[in-house]
Symmetry: C2
Subunit: 328 residues, 2 copies
């Protein structure tokens, strides 16, 4: 029987927060497998918003989202024994595709639990990477039960979409590349769903330069991070309903802890702003970004006073859109 001391040690160990050096190590590990995505600018948008915007374009990442960074780091961090038994996850989409591809590239079997109502483009992507898909009802409980069943049956390792140290460190490498290319940013904004990207981003940015402000962007209609951050009590979303389908998930204890430590501010944005900013980027920059990514520009649009004349890095999380179900 484990002693109380051992249990506390376990807990402390599992809650070690990532540091810049963990993200740098992740970057060395995943660099041969991921795209160093371009940092794009738009004179038109700079003029429109009276600031200098630098878009780190993870929509051009493999599988069309930053999630490939975290999934790749998690897979590459597994032992040889673990690899033989495969991986499993539940995800509404981008993490699913990311893990499927990262596993396939390393000869590892991937089992993916997806809600029945996931966007078609995301289902197709996962299937295309050769993963085994198990569909479930679109509730957290149904997902978790299906995942647990696969773990018990196969011995596969769970790679959680965000409540995972290695995943978080992988996600932080996007900000690392952004600051390597553009070191004089004054503010970095990233979207918050489950908090994996924001945890990695904020850890990286503050590790490099404490004076750079880190701001989280969250839909008003899925504002669990805003509420948790403001009240100091981890509070999951109840029935979140936003067009930003990548941001429906709630913070975990781990991501909440990192965000409390490293993020300066969380700002929520309206659905209208998200759609307007998505269209603005499509129209002016000619690149496809998904609604979740548009939240970062929506923060700038809704708070002009905060950002005037600033140099701002925006993490564009992905570009996977179901074109037959557009929100406009």
């Amino acid at each position: 029987m484990a002693s109380p001391y051992f249990i506390i040690f376990e807990k402390t160990f599992s809650m070690r927060l990532p540091e810049l050096s963990d993200i740098q190590a992740a970057h060395s590990r995943i660099r041969p497998f991921v795209h160093n995505t371009p940092v794009m600018k738009s004179q038109q948008l700079n003029e429109l918003f009276n600031c200098e915007l630098f878009f780190k374009c993870e929509n051009f990442q493999k599988v069309g989202a930053f999630k490939f960074r975290g999934a790749t780091n998690a897979v590459l961090s597994m032992s040889a024994e673990e690899r033989l038994l495969g991986v499993v996850t539940h995800s509404s989409g981008n993490h699913a595709a990311a893990l499927a591809l990262a596993a396939a590239m390393n000869g590892i079997k991937a089992n993916i639990v997806m809600p029945e109502n996931a966007p078609v483009v995301k289902k197709n992507a996962v299937a295309g990477y050769g993963a085994e898909i198990t569909f479930c009802k679109p509730t957290l409980q149904a997902r978790e039960e299906a995942t647990l069943m696969i773990m018990e049956k196969t011995g596969a390792t769970l790679i959680h979409p965000y409540d995972n140290f290695n995943v978080i460190c992988g996600q932080g490498t996007a900000a690392l590349e952004l600051l390597q290319e553009k070191g004089d940013l004054e503010i970095v904004i990233a979207p918050i769903g489950g908090g994996g990207l924001m945890s990695g981003t904020s850890t990286c940015v503050k590790g490099i330069n404490k004076n750079i402000q880190v701001i989280g962007a969250e839909p008003e209609k899925a504002n669990d991070a805003f509420i948790s951050f403001t009240t100091g009590i981890l509070t999951p979303s109840i029935n979140p309903a936003t067009c930003a389908d990548g941001l429906l998930t709630s913070l975990s204890e781990l991501t909440y802890s990192v965000i409390r430590k490293n993020v300066d501010k969380i700002l929520t944005v309206k659905e209208d702003s998200i759609i307007e900013c998505m269209l603005l980027v499509w129209e002016r920059m000619k690149i496809i970004i998904e609604p979740s990514s548009a939240t970062v520009l929506a923060v700038v649009k809704e708070n002009p006073g905060l950002f005037k004349s600033k140099k701002i890095g925006l993490i564009i999380s992905g570009g996977n859109v179901d074109f037959r179900k557009l929100p406009f």
Copy 2:
């Protein structure tokens, strides 16, 4: 009174066909004003079509289309006296925006005749660049009458969207940059509407290397160039009806002559293919291209035997899409 000899000389002079050196001169002239747009690749599309595709992304050009190259070259080729009186054109959209911006950047007044039913995004763009817009019925006759009226009233110089030597030379600079970056292409494909882009492209490619095949892409439902090229008789389209709204225009005598001389083949594509290929590029490459641009990929899709294992340059003409009127 002009002698018959003089009239013949005039005719011959006005029909001088562009050469590579004209395109090189245009490039030197416009280079400070235009973007050297990226050449993009997609592993997924290469695998899907069994060839190596190199996309010259003029959707990232200023005003979102290659047309800015031709318009800029035309404006920069005007005399000081001509500049004082302004420019005028009729265009369904991209050339209109291009000329408006090129003129504005050089302190020249632009008068633009547009059909009432032009896409909203294109009307807004033209207005945004400060041009004076005259709306007309969507017929060639109505456009030409309105244009003529403005020319008589203001003395403005007509910058035709494609039946213009300097415009053609400007359009050819996209292919010039493509071959500067990727010299070992075996095939170059560009769309054909009025033939300005194809004239410039084919002149440039054949001037650099006669062994590179030059192929024109045209919608089956606006196939005047295909018919003219095949029959040897310049034959305008009657009621063309394609989703590729940039390709509704017909060849002029000048573009027809250049294309007859320099193009190896014209292939027509179905509407379904155009839409499918547009979606493919949006989905896989995460960039916005307009239906007219998708014709070049549709040519590859519809003729797999012709392109297997080849290195193919595709001129992506633009990315101006009315997102509230998508063809899917």
